[in-house]
Subunit: 245 residues, 2 copies
DNA sequence: AAGTGGTCTAGACCACATC
DNA sequence: ATGTGGTCTAGACCACTTC
């Protein structure tokens, strides 16, 4: 049992449940509450913060969804004893690399409006042949090429310049344009590099590549991006956390 | 706007919010509520079901977490216009294949108690050299080998027989033993097949393989399984749905 | 101005795990 | 028997979007 210090600011615009969740998360990450250790029960926690139980419950649920805590009826709430804790969230490769201090660099290979191929039209929910933006980029980390990225966006959604794309990740540009990504369907696989891919990625033909295709949807349920990417398997892998609900 | 038929049974042991979620999900999957279409607002829905608003909210949140719905303040709740809808959940390959009608078959290559190698000890949170169960299995779908699976479990947690493993998935056996999996950290990558792997999987040496390592935790936060697997990339890929919270 | 979801309260009863 | 989380109510006020 552990009682981390908790305080809430009722004048802050930050929701109360979120303030509590942040403080609990900080206590866990700093090791003030050890893996395997039990938290106070919800009622005590609520009393101690001066909040109602549903509000405290919402804070705890937030951390359960994040994979930091597990709850069991009749038992209590415990910290998961996991070592790694990186999850693939709804960010683009650029965001990931920037967050990890990887100095991402982008070379724009193509920036066009094309007629949507069948597969793309199907994924984006537009008629085949409708105009869509097509991007092809080569992503570096430091001096090393890392991935070859091909994206399609519904026509008129976003008209980025090559300069925009060199400086920012695609998802960053989408967010800046007021598009809030909510859901993505991804498929991850592997195959051998074609000659062209190998040359672009500074690898030899036939080396294994990781492939990822993704269709992303915004907060209105519209498909806003379809991507088909290949990564050098020697330098990249996907990490994710699954949480059973 | 759409008003699917909804009814709740207050004598059922199934929670009310879950009954509502199930009926909404069925209406969506049957196409009775089309992608992009808006649902009634929460208050109307609550009135119509004879439930309180928080209960209906919980039902909707459940479907938002599943990636079926998106919500936006001031706008409403809409059905996502996604075509694919398979997510990697916390199931094992055996479960996945069985659910897809893939007739899984398992050949047990090794079933031992060994001293935990450093990497395994670290992932399972046991001292290096502690006794752990080691399993090596070859998983087929129909006549074709699909994956080579290596797992480690903390000593004493589960003592399966080769017959158990031939008939059931590992996760199924864990559940039957009262172990409830809650969280898993996975890493997905790719590399070339070694000669031994190629032979076991009926491929040629050097073909690309998908790799997946996973550490799974139960509802008490304990690490209960570490797995290191390789899949034939020509016959398998991972599909998952990401939801921004 | 009207309508939507987001947050919050102060309780209540229940199911499950443990002792 | 006790303590835990799971579910549920009937409201309230607020922030955001759209018209």
């Amino acid at each position: 049992m552990n009682r981390p210090a908790l305080s809430v600011d009722r004048n802050s615009p930050v929701p109360l449940y979120f303030q509590v969740a942040q403080q609990l998360e900080a206590a866990i990450r700093d090791g003030k509450v050890a893996p395997g250790e039990r938290l106070e029960n919800e009622v005590q926690l609520a009393d101690r913060c001066g909040l109602s139980r549903p509000t405290v419950r919402q804070a705890i649920q937030h951390l359960v969804d994040k994979g930091l805590l597990v709850r069991k009826r009749g038992v209590g709430t415990q910290v998961v004893q996991a070592q790694v804790r990186r999850s693939v969230e709804l960010t683009s490769l650029y965001d990931d690399l920037a967050a990890a201090g990887g100095e991402p660099r982008t070379e724009v290979l193509e920036l066009d409006t094309v007629e949507a191929p069948d597969q793309v039209a199907k994924e984006l929910g537009v008629p085949p042949g409708a105009p869509v933006a097509k991007l092809r980029r080569l992503r570096y980390t430091g001096a090393e090429p890392l991935a070859l990225l091909t994206n399609y966006l519904p026509g008129g959604l976003l008209e980025p310049t090559a300069a925009d794309l060199a400086e920012h990740g695609l998802y960053e540009l989408l967010r800046a344009a007021g598009i809030n990504l909510r859901i993505a369907n991804q498929t991850i696989g592997a195959r051998s590099a074609t000659a062209a891919e190998a040359q672009a990625l500074d690898e030899r033909r036939g080396v294994p590549l990781l492939t990822m295709t993704r269709t992303a949807y915004d907060d209105k349920g519209r498909a806003v991006e379809y991507g088909s990417h290949v990564y050098r398997a020697s330098r990249y892998s996907f990490a994710l956390t699954l949480v059973e609900r």
